[in-house]
């Protein structure tokens, strides 16, 4: 066993694999969704699926914030960046996300100045340094990242900065999970809850999944053993006829979340009535926008946006991959027209995207051979 030998606690991993196998009812198929792209990354990197019984499969969820940005938003960002005197900033992962007319690098080759930053606070520093330029930070990410944007806004307000604004694209995880639960395409038996998002929101927001949908949730850490243990806990709940939210990642995730972070978000942002997710379409109350009190820091209000909805390229099946209906290699352009160097869809861009993770680590995995032989 490659993973087991590679891992620092090989005995524990071996024991877990055996316990997982013992918990599975023969003949029953188990499908668990890992919501977070970070988990997807670990799963492919360590070939975790290879060490699970044949009847347990992992389905990749929509928890990669770069992957869910629709093409139209990339175009809107480029439109802002084209305005005179604007310097646009965003995380490095955004640079290669395709829009309707190319990505940020393509647009920089023409006439824009879109710069990568490590932190929204780095954008603030750029604004301070250059008062003649208007710095726009393109904010993306789930609840893990939203507090950073919120704190940056509070700081900008405190400093009275006039030349800084945020192009907000923060999304929230719960409505996306709900959309997946309501979608008829997929039958799931439980969820691995996202680790870092939960440091902020805590574990309580997942309770509806157990209560209303009857599916267990285990909030999980990112190491291979964490994921194995979380799968074990999910199977144990099913075997014992329980259905609840458990926290496997207690060493980092407090049950009640981070109140300071939640307050910072609530002070500066509010839910949008709806937001388009790439591949998943419009989901109501699934994203954040700046509150009226922060209108002067809101790039969406400062600049008129084209706001044109751009359909994904025909060949692209990111929607199915993000919903867990297709495995990455089942997309027709996977690894041929669509690679990390020339991505057609977003799931190939970020290392947390299912297609990129599978392309980088999983191509020769036994899981694929197993899957292919089944179809």
């Amino acid at each position: 066993m490659r993973f087991v030998d590679e891992y620092r606690d090989a005995d524990k991993a071996r024991a877990l694999a055996a316990e997982i196998a013992a918990l599975c009812e023969p003949g029953r198929q188990y499908k668990f969704m890992e919501v977070c792209g970070g988990h997807t990354h670990t799963i492919y990197k360590h070939g975790i699926e290879d060490y699970l019984p044949e009847n347990v499969s992992l389905v990749h969820g929509p928890g990669c914030p770069v992957c869910v940005i629709p093409m139209g938003r990339v175009d809107d960002a480029i439109h802002i960046a084209r305005q005179p005197g604007v310097l646009m900033t965003s995380f490095g992962d955004m640079m290669r996300v395709p829009g309707g007319n190319g990505n940020f690098f393509d647009s920089n080759a023409e006439d824009t100045n879109i710069r990568m930053v490590y932190s929204p606070l780095d954008s603030l520093k750029l604004a301070r340094q250059d008062p003649d330029r208007h710095v726009v930070f393109m904010a993306i990410g789930f609840e893990t990242t939203a507090p950073s944007t919120a704190m940056t806004l509070l700081r900008a307000e405190q400093e009275g900065l006039e030349n800084f604004s945020v192009f907000g694209n923060h999304v929230t995880i719960i409505p996306a999970i709900k959309a997946i639960l309501d979608s008829p395409d997929l039958r799931l038996d439980g969820f691995l809850g996202p680790g870092h998002v939960s440091t902020v929101i805590g574990c309580r927001p997942y309770e509806f999944i157990a209560e209303d949908y009857g599916k267990p949730v285990v909030v999980s850490g990112f190491e291979p053993l964490d994921i194995m243990q979380s799968i074990y806990l999910l199977l144990k709940q099913l075997a014992e006829g329980r259905c609840e939210v458990e926290n496997q990642y207690k060493r980092v995730v407090p049950w009640q979340g981070n109140t300071t972070a939640l307050e910072a978000i609530a002070r500066t942002m509010e839910l949008r009535p709806y937001f388009e997710w790439r591949g998943l379409g419009f989901i109501s109350h699934s994203a954040l926008r700046l509150r009226d009190a922060y209108a002067r820091f809101d790039a969406e209000r400062r600049f008129e946006l084209p706001g044109v909805r751009v359909a994904d390229p025909k060949a692209c099946q990111c929607g199915e991959v993000l919903k867990g209906v297709l495995k990455p290699w089942e997309c027709k352009v996977f690894g041929t027209a669509c690679t990390p160097e020339t991505p057609i869809g977003t799931c190939m861009v970020s290392p947390e995207g299912a297609c990129a993770a599978y392309y980088n680590f999983g191509r020769f995995s036994r899981a694929r051979v197993k899957e292919a032989s089944r179809t």
Binding site: D93, V117, P120, T145, P254, T260, P351
Partner: protein
């Protein structure tokens, strides 16, 4: 950007209680600690995401996370490269 990386707190900046000098894989940068319920002590480990401390962790957890992240290869190197360019103040 989705990674949370462990860093060791070296000192809280004297004039800025919301910022700490932190060492991450040999790189020393300012990190915002305003999201932590309690300010960390020098020598404590924190989990950092896009320039903000998300939570404090113990040293054993920090080492385990580091070992895991180093195993990720390029993804982690890219994150440290990005951090290297950071100048939070």
């Amino acid at each position: 950007m989705c990674l949370a990386i462990p860093g060791e707190v070296l000192a809280i900046l004297p004039d800025r209680p919301d910022l700490a000098k932190v060492e991450v894989s040999g790189v020393r940068r300012n990190i915002n600690i305003g999201l932590l319920e309690e300010p960390p002590e020098p020598g404590q480990w924190i989990l950092i995401h896009v320039g903000f401390a998300l939570s404090t962790i113990d040293e054993e957890e920090a080492r385990a996370v580091l070992e895991f992240l180093e195993g990720l290869g390029q993804t982690y190197t890219d994150e440290i490269d990005a951090l290297q360019d950071s100048r939070i103040e």
